[in-house]
């Protein structure tokens, strides 16, 4: 039972280790999907939005983690 719990924790940790980054990436994908499906935006523009957004989120997440905690 303990091993199953560890297995489940490992699986969850693989994709959702950093809460802030996970939520931001999922939000970015949702917005990109909405751009493609519900607006007249060119699909390539939506693709560029997804790519650049991911790059920015990565840099922001690394910098966020490097700042000292205030609490």
């Amino acid at each position: 039972m303990t091993m199953l719990k560890e297995l489940a924790a490992e699986l969850i940790g693989m994709f959702f280790a950093e809460k802030w980054l996970t939520v931001a990436v999922l939000g970015l994908i949702a917005v990109t999907g909405s751009l493609v499906d519900f607006t007249g935006v060119d699909r390539l523009v939506a693709g560029a939005f997804l790519l650049l957004g991911s790059l920015l989120l990565l840099v922001a997440s690394v910098c966020h983690a490097a700042r000292p905690r205030t609490h």
Binding site: F15, F16, L21, G47, L51, L57
Partner: protein
């Protein structure tokens, strides 16, 4: 056979990711073998590999039934989350914000834990040692299984990606048996950085394709994405180093 521009990134991502994970599992299996002999270590490893094989055999047929665009979108999202997580951690380790993975320290800690247990429970220690090896192989192997499926499933590259992972296992086992000590000289963080770059690039690529975006240059776009993620990881690392110095 898919074009080399598609196959090479998938195989190399599977190979290098497996290299990192197998080195980590090997450290713990070696600690078990050093303290209790190769029997519990080998049995635990075989048990872990058996469970992983069952997971692959169960997942394989399920994946075949999922429409390709849904599969690309689902795997792309998971790859993006997983790859960016690795890249973020590798950037922070490169910047010195979080400590590097130390195989020697992990080996010592695992050996100490088993030695401590030996004092009062000598009868059941072989069982505990075997379970420790099984757990290490299973937990580290899960990531390998995911990466092989993720980079291979979308384009019929499961076998080449699997072979890349097997090659990494063979390399680590050979090096480990020859050295007979934790493989602490493997540049683990650089490998993790590189794999994080490739997985993130695959993540954006598959997610985009799953959403109906046709990338210009098709598979060659992966190279551009990988270059951009490499740059972003390095920039993030440099910023993080500066921030940590400013606030120190």
């Amino acid at each position: 056979m898919p074009p080399w521009s598609t196959a090479a990134p998938a195989i190399s991502a599977a190979f290098f990711a497996s290299l990192v994970e197998v080195v980590e599992a090997f450290t713990i299996v070696l600690a078990v073998a050093t303290l209790r002999g190769w029997r519990p270590a080998a049995l635990g490893t075989a048990g872990g590999l058996g469970v992983l094989a069952c997971i692959v055999l169960l997942l394989g047929p399920v994946l075949d039934r999922i429409p390709i665009t849904s599969l690309q979108l689902g795997i792309g999202i998971l790859l993006l989350l997983f790859g960016m997580g690795w890249l973020r951690k590798a950037s922070l380790r490169a910047a010195g914000i979080i400590p590097l993975h130390d195989e020697d320290a992990i080996f010592a800690a695992e050996a100490a834990e088993l030695s401590e247990y030996r004092r009062g429970h000598s009868e059941s220690l072989n069982w505990i040692a075997g379970v420790t090896a099984l757990k290490a192989v299973l937990l580290e192997g899960l990531e390998v299984v995911f990466i092989v499926i993720a980079v291979g499933a979308g384009r019929g590259l499961l076998v080449p990606a699997g072979l890349g992972a097997l090659a990494a296992c063979a390399l680590v086992l050979t090096a480990g048996v020859l050295a007979h000590r934790p493989l602490s000289r493997v540049p683990e963080n650089s490998l993790k950085f590189g794999v994080g770059v490739m997985l993130s690039a695959f993540g954006v690529f598959w997610t985009g394709e799953g959403l109906g975006i046709a990338w210009p240059g098709q598979d060659l776009a992966l190279l551009l994405f990988a270059t951009l993620f490499l740059g972003a990881g390095l920039i993030g690392s440099a910023f993080a180093r500066r921030l940590s110095v400013e606030f120190a």
